[in-house]
């Protein structure tokens, strides 16, 4: 790839926000037909750089030069950059759920004949584009009826409808399961064959190491280095070293588990889908958690892990059919979230922005939100105790914020996640269910979150971790359950856990119930 002509060169890009220098003297050289990854921790400037490139930050709001196809480009807005063939696909997909695949592909770009949409051409081209990205669906299917993986493909098809020359993907696999991620990565390789250039931003370093031809690493708004993957023999550790500026010895803190008795047990848990009443999202699921144990739930997206967890947590998902919860040897009945909290359960949701936090809150109101009774006397809030409680978590979890009066929206993903953890630690739970606790969080913050999880276990609490990242489960958990279509298909102790075995159990019911 070293010899391929340069498609894009960003020279000495500096972008300042008052008080913050988001980018300083950043250089990026992308060659024709390569997959170029940009790696860096949160706040390193990756997104800002892409916003400069795509015209979200228009020409004039930054200093430096963008040379694209050999000429200097001065994009005034996104339309201008799209016109030049630069298309960015954001992590939050920009699709309209109530419209069909075809309609979404051509949204704002409809083939027209005399001012009227030419549906015949649209449908024909949609089918072509869908074939190109390997999407097998009826083009009239509504977006809301297809999964995230396929939605991502629609986004890419949409980019192709605009004659893309440089495709930018921001965290494309963050929300995808293993199979869909695989498919997407294969697709990118396929595009490379066809000479399409891609830039990919991802926190999943294994994917970057596997797929990218070149990697540019940013740290604190500076370009650290650009690695040629093949020539330099780059692996994950090498990337991490560049990102954090030091060798990270282990991705998981050292931990010696101290596991006690089984104190929490769910027996034959069966739950119906909230709308489709003939569908069961959990089928006779049984599991146990011991004191001080970190238990993993592995499964593909849609396997029903979140649904299972939420239905146990105060029936907050689906319709309860049957099953028992036994805690400390006694059966308990949990009918609502407040019952669940009362019984010492905590559920840290998968999606902290849409259901985990009230984004209008500041840190202190978020921290106390799930157990106001601890800081109220006869219903009246004691603001001093609220402040003290929040302050103690801010310092013990090392939340990066000057005060607890800071709104949660000003925090980075990792720090927001710490606030959510604090919110649930504040409820003094015996069992914490953490759903994708490190999604979208950078390497350093992940390490800290793992440390917090281990400390919670050491306090004798049980912790359930639901994660789509197998290395995370294997590195962190003492025992892993595999879930497939609402059924628990395996119970694998740490020493036996390897990705291959887990994947096998995650994709089939027939395997042994207990290995």
């Amino acid at each position: 790839m070293r010899d391929a002509p340069v498609l894009l060169e960003m020279r000495a890009i500096t972008k300042e926000f008052p008080g913050v220098k988001a980018l300083s003297d950043v250089n990026l050289v992308v060659r024709q037909g390569e997959i170029h990854a940009i790696a860096g921790e949160n706040g390193a400037g990756k997104s800002t750089l892409m916003k400069v490139l795509s015209g979200v930050h228009p020409y004039g709001s930054y200093t430096g030069q963008i040379l694209y196809e050999g000429t200097e480009s001065r994009f005034a807005d996104i339309r201008a950059s799209e016109h030049a063939g630069i298309v960015i696909i954001h992590q939050e997909l920009a699709l309209v759920p109530g419209l069909s695949i075809t309609e979404n592909i051509f949204l704002g770009n409809e083939p027209r004949r005399g001012g009227v949409i030419d549906w015949k051409t649209a449908n024909r081209r949609a089918l072509e584009l869908m074939a190109l990205v390997g999407l097998e669906e009826d083009p009239d299917t509504l977006i809301k009826d297809i999964g995230v993986g396929k939605q991502q493909l629609v986004e890419i098809a949409k980019a192709f409808a605009k004659n893309v020359k440089l495709l930018i993907l921001d965290e494309p696999t963050a929300a995808l399961n293993e199979t869909d991620s695989r498919h997407l990565l294969d697709l990118l390789r396929d595009f490379r064959q066809r000479g399409i250039t891609s830039i990919i931003i991802s926190h999943k370093l294994n994917e970057i190491a596997e797929i990218a031809d070149a990697i540019t690493i940013l740290r604190d708004g500076h370009t650290i280095e650009t690695l040629d993957v093949k020539a330099d023999g780059v692996d994950e550790d090498r990337i991490v070293r560049g990102m954090v500026g030091r060798e990270l010895h282990s991705r998981f803190p050292d931990h010696t588990p101290d596991i006690g008795e089984v104190f929490f047990e769910v027996r034959d848990w069966t739950v119906r889908h909230p709308v489709a009443s003939d569908r069961l999202v959990a089928k006779n699921a049984s599991f146990t958690v011991r004191r001080g144990e970190i238990v993993g739930f592995a499964g593909l997206m849609g396997a029903g892990r979140t649904e299972l967890a939420m239905s146990v947590f105060g029936r907050s998902y689906g319709v309860y059919v049957s099953g028992q919860i036994i805690k400390d040897g006694r059966e308990i009945v949990i009918k609502s979230v407040s019952d669940a909290i009362e019984h010492g359960l905590a559920y840290v949701s998968e999606d902290r922005k849409s259901i985990g936090l009230n984004l209008l809150d500041d840190i202190k109101t978020s921290v106390v939100a799930a157990k106001l009774s601890k800081i109220t006397k006869r219903g009246v809030i004691d603001h001093v105790r609220e402040h003290q409680a929040a302050e103690s978590y801010r310092s013990s979890l090392r939340v990066k914020a000057p005060t607890v009066d800071e709104p949660v929206t000003t925090l980075s993903g990792g720090n927001q996640q710490k606030v959510v953890l604090a919110k649930w630690m504040f409820t003094d739970p015996d069992l914490l269910i953490l759903d994708e606790p490190t999604r979208g969080i950078d390497v350093g913050a992940k390490y800290e979150i793992y440390g917090i999880i281990q400390r919670l276990a050491d306090q004798g609490k049980g912790v359930i971790v639901i994660s789509s990242e197998l290395p995370e489960l294997i590195g962190l958990c003492d025992r892993i359950y595999t879930v497939f279509e609402g059924t628990i298909t395996g119970d694998i102790p740490r020493r036996d856990a390897d990705p291959e075995l887990l994947l096998k159990q995650m994709t089939s019911v027939k395997k042994a119930q207990r290995s």
Partner: protein
């Protein structure tokens, strides 16, 4: 952070809604002064102040309830009709059954509670959007008013009229002022001082550095000056008039509801539900109960407002309360509440309501026709909210800073963009 901003933060608190509130107070003062000049001193004269309070207290009362409804993410279009319905019921029972007036008030509140329970049931437990439920309620109870009263006007007895047109009585020695009003003013002054003192103590307990003494002095001195002035005006009016009873009812409710929304778990739940209902539910908040209570409370306050209005106009009629819901909603939004819920304060809504009231009153004093008054009020509402929306896009709002900007040359970029960077980081904290 600029010094101006720091000063603003210590005077008014640091967050956006406080800053917004300051903007509204500033606007209110400006409007009052403007009309004071334009009307040649009529606006702040005792007679006008007294009629201002008794004329708008019921709208402000509705604004209290509406604030909570809007914070929870709903709307209530039925308040005018509910007020009229309760008004006619109360007038009718007093006329037909000679029920004593205090009992009639209780009956009115009970009817309000039943209506509120009805609407709350549909909103909270069936899940019909409040817009629809209360639009239905608007028709239903308007019709109910005319059905019960046969579209006639029914007078109410003298005793009942106190809550709408009564004043603090004259007692004690002749001081040239109404003594009870003076006492009331004194109580409020003491309350302001105590509040500031307790606030400082709380901040010390939190370990935060308390603001310098002179800031506290300003925070106390300015309100005290306003209260002393208002007290003298209200107490020094025509003999027989003083601070209206309806104003006292309003004041008490403002204090109670401010406390509830700010300092109780129940109040915090309303904000949680409006900010993110699903997150609130997953934090153990009983969503349905909160929605039910908020809708029910609104109708009870509407009932009270209806009775005060009937008492003031001495009779209940079929045209009572028309358009009140819109005045209340306007007050809440001018006072800084978010259309999407989760944000807003009682005091902000009261200030918003006062802006509308003073505007209305001032224009009337100037002899401006009701056609043009409507147009001006409409524009004020639009501009106030547009200003808010614009500021949200630009980042955080700062009136002082925007006022000071022309006098500063050293900082080329305004403070607005500095928080834009913060916002942006907040918006995409994942891919940095």
């Amino acid at each position: 952070m600029s010094r101006v901003k720091e000063l603003q933060k210590s005077l008014f608190g640091g967050n956006t809604s406080n800053a917004r509130q300051f903007g509204m107070i500033f606007t209110l003062v400006a409007i009052v002064l403007l009309f004071e000049i334009l009307t040649g001193g009529l606006t702040l004269n005792p007679g006008n102040l007294i009629s201002l309070v008794s004329q708008y207290s019921y709208i402000l009362l509705l604004a209290i309830g509406m604030l909570m409804v809007i914070v929870a993410g709903h709307i209530d279009l039925s308040v005018g009709s509910v007020a009229a319905f309760v008004g006619i019921v109360v007038a009718q029972v007093m006329q037909d059954y000679a029920v004593p007036w205090f009992l009639a008030v209780l009956i009115g509140l009970a009817v309000g509670a039943v209506i509120g329970a009805w609407q709350g049931f549909w909103v909270a437990y069936v899940g019909v959007p409040a817009f629809i439920v209360t639009l239905a309620g608007m028709m239903l109870f308007r019709g109910g008013n005319q059905f019960i009263g046969n579209a006639n006007t029914i007078p109410v007895p003298e005793g009942f009229r106190v809550i709408g047109s009564g004043f603090l009585p004259e007692v004690g020695p002749d001081t040239g002022y109404n003594n009870l009003t003076l006492l009331l003013g004194l109580v409020v002054c003491v309350a302001v001082v105590v509040r500031e003192w307790r606030g400082r103590r709380t901040r010390r307990e939190m370990g935060a550095d308390a603001a310098p003494m002179w800031i506290s002095v300003i925070r106390v001195a300015v309100p005290l000056a306003v209260i002393v002035f208002a007290t003298l005006q209200f107490a020094g009016g025509r003999v027989g008039t003083s601070f209206p009873v309806s104003g006292i009812i309003l004041g008490v409710l403002v204090v109670i509801y401010s406390f509830i929304t700010r300092n109780t778990a129940g109040g915090r739940h309303i904000y949680a539900v409006g900010g993110n209902a699903r997150a609130a539910e997953l934090s153990g908040v009983k969503l349905k109960r909160v929605n039910f209570m908020v809708m029910m409370n609104m109708s009870v306050l509407a009932a009270l407002a209806g009775m005060i209005f009937v008492a003031r106009s001495a009779a209940s009629g079929p045209q009572d309360g028309i358009g009140w819901e819109l005045d209340a909603i306007a007050a809440v939004f001018i006072g800084g509440a978010a259309v999407s819920g989760g944000l807003g304060t009682i005091s902000g809504s009261i200030v918003g309501g006062l802006v509308m009231a003073v505007l209305n009153n001032g224009l009337q004093l100037l002899g401006v026709g009701s056609d043009r008054v409507q147009i001006i009020k409409g524009l004020v509402l639009l501009l106030a909210v547009a200003f808010d929306v614009y500021n949200k896009k630009q980042g955080r709002f700062s009136v002082i800073d925007s006022l000071m900007r022309p006098f500063r040359r050293d900082t080329p970029t305004g403070p607005a963009s500095s928080s834009e960077a913060g916002q942006e980081r907040g918006k995409s904290p994942v891919a940095g």
